[in-house]
Amino acid sequence: MSTAVAPDYPQAPLFALDTLWFQVAGTLCNIQCAHCFISSSPTNRSHEMLSLEHVKRFLAEGEALGVKEYYFTGGEPFLNREIFEILEAALALGPVSVLTNGLLLKPESAWRLRRLSDGSDYSLDLRISIDGWDAATNDPVRGAGTFDRILVGIRNLAEAGLNPVITVTEACEGAATAEGRTRFLAFLRAIGLTQPRLKVMPLLRLGAESGRTRAYESWESLRGETLTRDEAEALVCSSGRMVTSKGVYVCPILIDFPEARMGTALAETLGGFELRHSACFTCHAQGLSCRT
């Protein structure tokens, strides 16, 4: 007699590989934010930099699969010495978003990005993280002196005619409320962004953040839940995959978890994924989307 095992967790199918992510700087970063869910730092080598050649191999596979957009993150992507060549290769195939702390965006880099943007049919979005509207709110999270340096990066982009998306986490208290958004948009206008673009992200209680506030608790789980199709479509893992130096992972968030590594080539990672991790609860319950 066989006994059916009751399924415990909902499944996210991969509806289509629309978004292809690259951990282009590995977990190496020029700063060490207190809320980083993968604990990136100047010394964290758990994922290594990706080379242009490595990225090109996955771009070719992504092109054949009909990928719709490409994302580059780290760590800090502009630590990668081949980043401009990598972005140029991706922009030949589709729209690109780069997630950066903005600290390395000197005027010549900003203008180089502008030329890459102008040279492509597709959008190039720079996403700059900041965690407050002043140094007193931002610097405890992102590091002493970072607020002023981030503003320099934002202004350099603006002067080159690029309009970054400013990304704020809920480590900046109140940023997700209507008043918080209004205050942030006013702040961005005041620093010279005439068409301010703002994205507020929930926190992931992984990596450094689990020490700053708290780790996930047992109730934060999708065990026993079922997802509608719309709910499944809203998840990053139902339309994307993440390439790191160690292989292809289900999403940009779970790269510290070996169980989230799905294969070495994209073709091996096109199946569904069981949403067992507590971070899956954040994506579903708080509507977290890493997309621009």
């Binding site: 092109e63 729209p95 190039l124 005619g161 079922t226 997802l227």
Partner: protein, 285 residues
């Protein structure tokens, strides 16, 4: 950690295929994007389409929203017998949904979208809502030798935004392959564009009749597609209409001054956050 990779169980149900209607073969066709209650532009668009000698005109959904007196637009479309598909507005109005399912992500955009939707819902006759529920989600036809698929947002989702700068060639190849067509015609974004990978194969976004294309000009757009030498030729066609009269009607209906400003200036004042970098940079706000 438990094994995260137990595949294959409890997958959400696949999306139901939208009802598809097969129409005939044509040589020259006009496509009308979101009308957003702009009955004045709709009348002018129909006049222009006829003057260009088209065999047929198709409407790609979102008849209401933004503008005044939504029933006027529906009465023109029904009175003229224009074949049409559902947009997210028709789907929402017919099903009694609480919002438009436009797909915005920003609170300010959603605020204005809700004003549009509530006004349209209150001012659309029940009989028109019932008719909207009878419309198909897709229409297939041929133009010359090419297969053409009409959808509202994208072939795979009624409210997916297909912007020019976010719809790359490899993705278009996949859409054409998955949906067994040569050309996809869509609207939903409100900005006209097309990308043909080879003659007669690609995507055409026919833009919108409801509001201008965020370029500082007050005209709106339709698209004419015609058979040409075994392929297809795509013409975006400018539609000038009495926008000042529409603006006054919107004011009389107490629609938001931000909407009226868009009609008078040609610059978008809402739905801004959803714009990709390139498209946003072309507007004023």
């Amino acid at each position: 950690m438990p094994d995260l990779k137990l595949g294959g169980r409890r997958a959400p149900a696949p999306a139901p295929e939208p009802q598809t209607v097969e129409m005939g073969g044509y040589r020259r066709v006009a496509f009308l994007g979101g009308v957003y209650s702009n009955h004045l532009a709709l009348r002018e668009a129909l006049r222009i389409a006829r003057s260009r000698g088209v065999d047929a005109v198709f409407a790609l959904g979102d008849f209401g929203a933004f503008g005044p007196h939504p029933d006027r637009t529906v009465e023109i479309l029904r009175g003229e017998g224009i074949p049409a598909i559902q947009g997210n507005y028709e789907e929402s109005l017919a099903s009694g949904a609480a919002d438009c399912h436009c797909g915005y992500t920003d609170p300010r955009d959603n605020h204005f979208a809700q004003i549009s939707y509530d006004y349209t819902r209150e001012n659309t006759a029940a009989e028109h809502k019932r008719w909207m529920g009878t419309l198909p989600g897709h229409i297939r036809l041929t133009i010359g030798e090419k297969r053409v698929l009409l959808c509202h947002g994208s072939p795979r989702k009624i409210n997916e935004f297909l912007w020019r700068s976010m719809t790359p060639a490899p993705f278009i190849r996949k859409l054409l392959r998955d949906f067994e067509t040569d050309l996809v015609v869509c609207t939903h974004t409100g900005l006209p564009w097309s990308r043909l990978l080879e003659p007669g194969r690609g995507v055409v976004n026919c833009g919108a009749l409801g509001r201008p294309a965020n370029d500082g000009r007050t005209n709106v757009w339709l698209a004419v597609v015609e058979a040409e030498g075994g392929g297809l030729r795509v013409d975006p066609v400018r539609v000038d209409y009495d926008h000042e009269r529409l603006a006054r009607e919107m004011e009389a209906e107490r629609l938001p001054p931000e909407f009226v400003e868009t009609i008078r200036t040609g610059w978008w004042t809402s739905c801004l956050e959803i714009l990709p970098a390139k498209e946003r940079a072309q507007g004023r706000y």
